[in-house]
């Protein structure tokens, strides 16, 4: 047991006041004073992401000392630089569940970082952005990406750079649900996916463009840039009445709304927060491959499949009964999937690789840890795969996947 706190956690005066019959007044007061999540500097949150730049340098965005930081590795994660601060003032960050800071790299060495800053009320947030144009030596002052400044849900940021160098940031947004509630209309199903685009390497953003209504509220969004400059987004949707399968749509640089397609068909009918978003990539022949999570009766667990119109090819279960948080990357027609699996004592980092676009697979075990860990990320670089896994025992662990 690393840090089990055996003492009872005493609440402050708030609940005592509540017990005295003042909940409404106190709840309103709490809106402004609600301490945000993810501010424990001594034991930083483990949420982290990483990406290779064009020169093969690996960059990671992660928390350190309460700050969002970026670390650099010139040897694919064997050694890391001292973390550089992205935000110079302490800022609460949403790191729970499926939320973590994101990093993306421009072709000219630009380093882009986004994260979600929780606001006062539960479920609310703002998508924050900072960039470095000098190789991580300094970062711009963080800005809020979206034009909408209501104290509502803007969370689960996702970021991608297209082949024109345009930067896309997508997020889960509840403005439509809030508007429906204000209009006293029927309850809005789920949330929506919005995005913004930057044409000037993050100096400014334009948006907010609505990609789709009725997304699920608490899962990460998977993005994949296309050759035509658009960026595909895949997310957990809420198909009527409450089917939490996945949808795919194309974000275009001009913000034109695109068609929303259903791409998984497990028929998981539930009002739940899975905290378990998908991952998406494309092979050399243009086929889309994904991993996702469902608890539908017919397909319970983590799933892999090749997406096509109206169905999924080669769908299969990934890992054992405790498998979770899979990620996927593709190089040519080689597909790599990594996930973690708890065995009663340790979390094991496992992977499966296909050399023929998902037809046949071989499994490997890559690492194990006796403590807390983040979700693994699979990175493809120059025909090779690496799995990035931030663990308490081994921070920013990166394993080559042969």
């Amino acid at each position: 047991m690393i840090d089990a706190k055996r003492r009872a956690i005493a609440l402050g005066g708030g609940l005592a006041a509540l017990a005295a019959g003042l909940p409404a007044a106190f709840a309103q007061h709490a809106d402004h004073g609600m301490p945000a999540k993810g501010t424990d500097a001594a034991r930083p949150d483990l949420g982290a992401t990483a990406a290779f730049d064009a020169q093969g340098v690996l960059w990671a965005a992660h928390k350190d000392g309460g700050y969002i930081t970026v670390s650099r590795s010139a040897d694919a994660g064997r050694s890391w630089s001292k973390p550089a601060r992205v935000n110079n003032s302490l800022e609460a960050t949403d790191m729970g569940a499926d939320s973590r800071p994101k990093i993306a790299l421009g072709a000219g060495g630009e380093i882009y970082v986004t994260w979600t800053r929780p606001l006062g009320k539960p479920f609310t947030g703002a998508i924050r952005f900072a960039r470095s144009l000098d190789g991580g030596r300094s970062f711009s002052a963080p800005v809020t990406v979206h034009a909408d400044r209501q104290e509502i849900t803007h969370r689960f940021d996702a970021m991608a750079v297209n082949n024109q160098g345009q930067l896309f940031v997508a997020w889960i947004d509840k403005r439509d649900g809030v508007a429906a509630a204000r209009a006293k209309g029927p309850e809005y199903r789920g949330a929506a996916v919005y995005y913004a685009v930057s044409d000037d390497k993050g100096a400014s953003f334009r948006g907010d463009y609505k990609l789709a209504e009725h997304s699920c509220e608490c899962c990460r969004i998977a993005l994949h840039p296309q050759d035509d400059g658009s960026v595909l987004a895949m997310w957990r949707h809420v198909f009527a009445p409450n089917i939490r399968d996945h949808a795919l749509a194309r974000m275009t640089p001009d913000g034109r709304p695109g068609e929303v397609r259903r791409v998984t068909f497990d028929d998981w009918r539930v009002d739940v927060c899975p905290h378990h978003g998908p991952s998406l990539d494309r092979d050399a022949d243009g086929r889309l491959h994904a991993v996702w999570f469902t608890q539908a009766l017919k397909n319970s667990g983590v799933c892999y499949g090749r997406l096509r119109d109206g169905g999924v090819d080669l769908q299969r279960r990934v890992g054992g009964a405790t498998a979770e948080h899979a990620d996927l990357a593709i190089s040519g027609n080689r597909v790599a999937v990594a996930w973690k699996e708890f065995d009663g004592e340790r979390s094991r980092l496992r992977a499966m690789i296909s050399d023929d676009a998902g037809e046949h697979w071989r499994e490997r075990e890559l690492a194990a840890t006796p403590g807390a860990s983040d979700h693994p990320r699979v990175l493809a670089r120059a025909g090779a795969f690496h799995v990035f896994w931030n663990t308490r025992r081994e921070p920013l662990l990166t394993v080559a996947l042969a």
Binding site: A4, I9, L11, A36, T39, D40, V272, H275
Partner: protein
């Protein structure tokens, strides 16, 4: 939201008027040993064990359900466990203040190695929430992921309290 807060206030006033004897002041630390401790505490008795988190929208709605059930079936133990991490105590407290589930028992994850804690509860639980377990007197547990159906839950409460 304002309506919800007003309703919360009204329900709480009712509870207090009824003299409900629960202690909402303590959140106990839930770790890999807590599941067996809770089962021992309610040996031979039915109870409800419900996991939730501050990042879970349906969990918010369920707080109202627990409050109503506790009012109607005060003898049935309802144990709520926040699966937020140890660093999120303040956010958990604020959430409970805001959405007030009534005089039920509170715990929260006290181990950042959440896989280990979940495994001690149920090897097949992948962290989705709300996740609820209905233990009958023999401690045969029925698990449910997602927002509960009020009528089904009320039926279970009637069956397991003998009160109609």
């Amino acid at each position: 939201m304002r309506t919800l807060c007003k309703f919360a206030g009204a329900a709480l006033a009712l509870l207090l008027a009824g003299g409900a004897a629960a202690d909402p002041v303590n959140i106990r630390p839930f770790d890999a040993g807590s599941m067996s401790a809770i089962r021992a505490q309610y040996a031979g008795k039915p109870f409800v064990l419900a996991f939730w988190s501050t990042t879970c929208e349906p969990c918010r709605k369920e707080m109202t359900l627990w409050r109503g059930l506790k009012l109607r079936y005060p003898q049935m133990p309802i144990v709520l466990v926040s699966a937020d991490g140890p660093a999120d105590q303040a956010a958990v407290t604020a959430f409970l203040m805001r959405y007030n589930p009534g005089p039920v028992q509170h715990w929260m994850f006290a181990d950042e190695f959440s896989e280990r804690v979940r495994y001690s509860v149920d090897k097949s639980w992948r962290g989705e929430m709300p996740r609820t377990y209905f233990f009958d007197a023999a401690h045969d547990a029925a698990a449910h992921s997602g927002l509960l159906d009020r009528r089904m839950v009320e039926q279970w409460f009637r069956n397991n309290t003998g009160r109609h």
